[in-house]
Symmetry: C3
Subunit: 158 residues, 3 copies
Amino acid sequence: MAEKVTLAVFSGEMDKAMAAFNIAIGAAAMGMEVSMFFTFWGLNIIKKNKRPIKSRGMMRKMLNTMNRGGSKRLPLSKFHMLGLGKWMMGKLMQDAKFPSIEEQIAIAKEAGVKFIACTTTMGIMDITKDDFITEVDSFAGVATYLAEAREGKVNLFI
Amino acid sequence: MAEKVTLAVFSGEMDKAMAAFNIAIGAAAMGMEVSMFFTFWGLNIIKKNKRPIKSRGMMRKMLNTMNRGGSKRLPLSKFHMLGLGKWMMGKLMQDAKFPSIEEQIAIAKEAGVKFIACTTTMGIMDITKDDFITEVDSFAGVATYLAEAREGKVNLFI
Amino acid sequence: MAEKVTLAVFSGEMDKAMAAFNIAIGAAAMGMEVSMFFTFWGLNIIKKNKRPIKSRGMMRKMLNTMNRGGSKRLPLSKFHMLGLGKWMMGKLMQDAKFPSIEEQIAIAKEAGVKFIACTTTMGIMDITKDDFITEVDSFAGVATYLAEAREGKVNLFI
């Protein structure tokens, strides 16, 4: 049986997403079985790059407009500078022929990495399955995460 | 012997605390033995919701006033917006019948999760045992943490 | 064979660096074999405390001036307050006879902790080997990290 790697992706920033996908893709390339559990702000990484999602109630509307997400809209955790730093980082990645987050998502899927979205956060923030990209394999809670993590050789919280 | 889970809780934000307790409570429910090591800003989660603590010297006074802590005073790591975002998140959690941090602390304790406060940070910031809620099981340093983590199936830094 | 600990140090803040070194030094003292993989902003911790590094192109110049790094220039993740909070934290550490980050680096090396700098980030940000302190043992990518982490008893992402 292949060795397991689980990544709990809590953060929704571009730089943390890069680190997560870099590890996920690397581990899959080494023959390991990788599951990425996206939770809380991390859900933004796997949201569609489309229109803001529709939500019930004013507060959820506000939250889901501000917190719109999508792989192209992730901020930097440092030096975001209203988008300038993020734009620069995108350019530097391009220059270094480093794939964008969107491309990393595709590469990870191609390599067999599993994407799981956290249903607990979805409930609290009123995000529905339709709000996510089709690359998401399943929707689950903490019990599913722990069932995999307890078998994991490498478990990280990012 | 039950499988062990250790969580090093470094961050003092409401959202990270929710993730930590969600994993802790889930793991305990699955029969795993869970230890939460609260360190640095994470200590705020298990401070009393009372008066600012008394400290020696002006700098410690300033730090411990700004960094007052308590489960009801934790900011959000994103969209805190001077408390508005945090208030909204509290409302959303209520709406979704999700327990507050205070309630999660009680549930975790009920489920047998152990709370350990980091003595190294306590020393640097001049926080005393009296500043913490009574749910804290023990006070210890990194050696205690590592002794548990080396036996852990799942070890996360949050 | 000694038990392994791996720390992926993604964050470049003084407080997170303290947590990382505290764990690294503690684990080494307990006879464990510790590798610290510095990546992304974490590279700042092991940059020289000297002049800003020279980079090709305006964007890299900007980034590497803002993101200058060096163990003495790390901000706090909370209450940095344009340097005041960081200065206070330095004082509190001194008062508590707690070693500075610079001293912690020396202690960790003395204890046999291995420092590895992430070549992927170095490529994107145009950082060269000369920009790092001489304590760095090697320069490597994610495959090297995973080869160690899969053997690790404790693997943390900080």
